[in-house]
Symmetry: C2
Subunit: 216 residues, 2 copies
């Protein structure tokens, strides 16, 4: 079996949000798909270890904010490479409240779901959500997972269903020495030499400081 | 609720195949996503009315052939706008047999799954399949659902989870009189006037004859 074929499946990039008590929290996800059209339902796959999983379990609701190609890519790192147990992920994030749940302003649309069923697997819960609200927020094209890998040069965190230990796409394999963010895997490939960047440089994906980059 | 936001979710385009006894059959689908990475599992949403659903139920197996941007778009119509109950969909289709199941040669990869769980919804079954084989077949980029709508100008059949009765994207709304395939919704927009096409012209998506086109 060649597990690299899984990279040929197509996804979007989403921020899944819910509530920890009254505190908004959420995480980055790509495994969302529509299951039925009438009534409209979505399936969402979420790792058991994700704090958002337990928040969805408790509240019975989740929101999907759909990132677009113009969404700030640092949202992916803000929501994807740290835990809502430790930090307030919505700090400094523009959001609105819809049906009681936080949705990101910097997205091309949102969908709010009420959990009506679920299926457990070894590592992930598949939540089935009935859509109770949704709207378009911008006309920018949706960010696809391929776009995230190819253009933004991001990788998958370990909790993602699509994580591959040997994850390396042809587009991110460095042709020579390159600097890689040790937190999120972002490969620096701008024209300016990495060494000459100011110390205030931060990873465009996860906002970690320049010191977190390692030479490869 | 604005159901058009569902179009902002991202998908690929897949041919799902299984067996009717010993006869290969299958259908077009877009609702496939990876659920866990180790062991690797996929979820697939399939309408109860699809003949392929009952074949997966009986055999306990399904194959996913991943269409690429260079795959013949008529495969989508061949597998998507008619039923395997009525026709042999694999007639004149190049395929290979992997783990006993047919996979399309004209795809960028295939994944073979054994059903290990399922979740029923009002109109669709969500099959959870454990991956037993898979490989890459070409380096062409995967066909996304957005590409299918935008470039190939295809629509969704009624059994698709993503079907919208009012389905019309900005890219397929004709600016003036246009000819539309009444079977699959393909909008003719080549330079040559439709009326002057030879009678042998067939829809590039579903291969139906010129007579099935209607003026809009």
């Amino acid at each position: 079996m060649n597990t690299k074929v899984f990279h040929n499946l197509s996804y979007g990039v989403y921020i899944i949000s819910s509530l920890d008590g009254e505190r908004p929290t959420g995480c980055t996800a790509n495994s969302v798909m529509q299951i039925t059209s009438s009534p409209a339902t979505l399936a969402l796959s979420m790792n058991h270890d994700n704090f958002t999983n337990s928040c969805i379990e408790k509240t019975g609701k989740f929101a999907v904010s759909i990132l677009s190609e113009t969404s700030d890519p640092s949202l992916i790192g803000q929501f994807g490479f740290q835990s809502g147990r430790d930090v307030n992920k919505f700090e400094n994030i523009l959001f609105e409240t819809k049906e009681g749940l936080p949705v990101l302003t910097d997205s091309c649309g949102y969908i709010i779901c009420k959990v009506i069923d679920k299926m457990e697997t070894s590592t992930h819960t598949v939540f089935l959500g009935e859509v109770i609200d949704g709207d378009i927020q911008s006309v920018s094209p949706s960010m696809t997972y391929a776009y995230y890998h190819r253009v933004i040069k991001g990788k998958s965190p370990k909790n993602a269903p699509t994580y591959l230990p040997e994850e390396e796409s042809e587009n991110t394999i460095p042709s020579k020495t390159s600097w890689v963010c040790s937190i999120c895997g972002y490969v620096y490939d701008e024209e300016a030499p990495f060494e000459e960047l100011p110390d205030s440089y931060t990873c465009p994906i996860c906002k970690q400081p320049k010191s977190k980059f390692v030479k490869q």
